[in-house]
Symmetry: C2
Subunit: 406 residues, 2 copies
């Protein structure tokens, strides 16, 4: 064959990329690295593998493959039963939803990544809590959002401060796109928003026409007290997108998350899923596993289990940490948030902890602008009670060493 | 609380969407609907559920959950063994690849959706075969690509015609982004590109600096003849992205696809996956199932099985269709492509087929610009031999009826 003469410079594959691919690469390469750490890491909120219902899941797989192999293993939609179960769970929370108000995803993390694609143009304003879950916040930053941080306290997001900011923004003719909140068993702060604040937050969102993204990842893992209505349950005007997941109540590896919200918004989120609908297999398995009240019974067991582990960590902290390190006992979730005195900054503590083979998440990883060096997040979810005690003892030793040095 | 006065017009949620969310909605709502059809549909290439290795998959799940529950069910990366198996399979095809040249996805369909995001800005040129797999081509159209169709014949893509078009484009100073080809057991045409054309295609791509996207979805399902090297195996300069899937060789429901190609391109594809890496569970199950040569033995059985079903369909066509309907016996894959005489247009045939409770994919659904009314695609993959015969008999009846009417 004869080939047309072309300019002699060698072609580069990268010249072919779309502009958006150049842009995303620059953003992601600029973002912070997520490194894993020491042998005994309390940094990440993994689930406790001891609590995975292995036999029941194995049985569920066997039953699904025996009874409906074509539906589970061929091309096709996810399990209709799973949608029915989600609608039934919402009903118990006071939400009467229909099929088009619920969608499935590969974990709630996928939804947290899709939301900025649907909602955020560069320069748009997004309100978050400080501290917050940075894996979600980072997606807003990558989309070019201007992030405004609202502080939180023992009652959750400071809704007075939010009111002031929304009012200022409205006077400046800026309509924020959304408010991202972890209303129940906050990650990392452990707090739960009071009912009074929930009502005010929902009213503010409707008044200013701002979407609330309510991240309910930990909402079912309650140790004490009575459940409060979700923001989604309080909302009557369609300004709340509630996100849930089977990761904490069954297993992260099932990669099954879900959202409840306005159908038009769910449709658009679906449009940005490159893989289309979630695969049918795992949705059938989760539905089969969850049938006949088994999931609810399992969740009850998880609440007891994680409450005990949380208590182990809090007792160890009380014993081994300097007394001016303060914690607020969380009433649910996977983590304890510790406030550190001025001479025990997280950044100074990290290397001493690493020397002792233990890791934690410094508070700075939970804020966008460098705050949080006076805090640390400790996950009690993954390790055994013995390992938790060992980790806290080593951390306490690091704190005392830092104080002695200083 | 006091709420700031704001303009009295009611807020709309849709005012909050990002520009890209408005754009994608308009595009997708404008695209063709994919409706499913008659009771006996030969339109879609579903896998044969009789061939799902249910007991082996059930055992694989039980073994994975018993032996490595934490790796399979917690947060974490996909199975390292699966990557090793993919690299070993590539090695048997003459490709020595390393870990960073392979990525996993939720089915090959996800990759086909991600490629335009990385590669195509509006107005960019993309070359495809005519006919082609429209679910892939539609994604290029949605990204705003200018589609140029290269015809194909019994030897695959007409590389002479491609050469002419690439040369014309180069003279017009247009560098196309990519060439999308189904080189082996083409969907829908059933043909396999000759070795000579493969070599020329790879040389042309390197010469003009154009990416080849080689869709290898059916490549392992060979009925006759010897395997030809993939375009990826022939490429020495890094201009081929090869896409594979476990959908046809194991089950679509495992939603496990993969790509082999330049690491820098795979990195960018990964960046556009909203859900991050594929979940660990199914990757461990697929790897466990596939170990010890079991997958290769299963594929050998599939080749025999689908070859028999293809023969059943071709025999039924020879018996029941008018003799001037022509087919080319495919040497692999899931479908038969039929060329129709002038008086049996697919569009005219469709309603008569529907009256008889049978459906097919009209050729027009395999071209971008309305061509293909002289062709139909028939899938022999899903139904039993009896149902295939019944479907072809009904379609033959519809053809004779159309001819009698006309």
């Amino acid at each position: 064959m004869t080939l047309d003469p072309i300019p002699s410079a060698r072609h580069r594959l990268s010249d072919l990329y779309a502009q958006r691919a150049h842009d995303i690469a620059a953003q992601i390469q600029g973002a912070a690295q997520q490194g894993r750490a020491a042998p005994l890491s309390l940094a990440f909120g993994l689930a406790d593998p001891e609590m995975f219902p292995l036999q029941d899941l194995t049985n569920a797989v066997a039953e699904v493959l025996a009874e409906r192999p074509d539906a589970a293993l061929n091309y096709g939609p996810p399990s209709a039963e799973l949608f029915e179960q989600l609608l039934a769970r919402l009903q118990t929370q006071g939400i009467t939803a229909s099929r088009n108000q619920v969608m499935l995803s590969y974990g709630s993390g996928q939804l947290l990544a899709l939301i900025p694609q649907v909602m955020v143009d560069p320069g748009d304003t997004v309100l978050i809590e400080g501290p917050s879950y940075m894996a979600a916040v980072r997606r807003y930053e990558l989309a070019g959002a201007r992030i405004i941080t609202i502080p939180l306290d023992e009652q959750g997001m400071d809704v007075d401060a939010l009111d002031v900011r929304l009012s200022e923004l409205a006077r400046a003719n800026i309509r924020p796109k959304l408010i991202y909140t972890i209303s129940t068993f906050h990650n990392p702060a452990g707090v739960t928003m009071s009912l009074e604040r929930r009502r005010r937050l929902v009213a503010l969102a409707a008044h200013y026409g701002v979407l609330i993204v309510e991240d309910g990842a930990y909402g079912d893992l309650r140790f004490t007290g009575e459940p409060l209505p979700t923001l989604a349950a309080l909302d009557t005007e369609g300004w709340v997108l509630h996100i849930g997941t089977y990761s904490k109540i069954l297993a992260p590896g099932v990669r099954t998350g879900w959202a409840y919200g306005p159908p038009e918004l769910l449709e658009r989120l679906q449009m940005f899923k490159s893989e289309g609908e979630v695969g049918p297999f795992m949705s059938h398995v989760v539905a089969r596993y969850s049938a006949d009240g088994r999931l609810e019974a399992h969740i009850a067991g998880l609440c007891v289990h994680y409450r005990q582990k949380c208590a182990v960590m809090l007792e160890a902290i009380a014993r081994d940490f300097p007394s001016d390190v303060t914690t607020l006992a969380p009433n649910g979730g996977f983590v304890v948030w510790c406030r550190l005195p001025e001479d025990l900054q997280a950044s100074a503590l990290l290397p001493l902890a690493a020397e002792r083979g233990v890791a934690f998440l410094p508070g700075t990883r939970c804020f966008t602008e460098g705050q949080g060096d006076d805090a640390m997040r400790l996950a009690f979810s993954y390790h055994t009670a013995e390992r938790i005690k060992e980790g806290i003892a080593r951390l306490g030793d690091a704190m005392h060493a830092l104080r002695t040095q200083g």
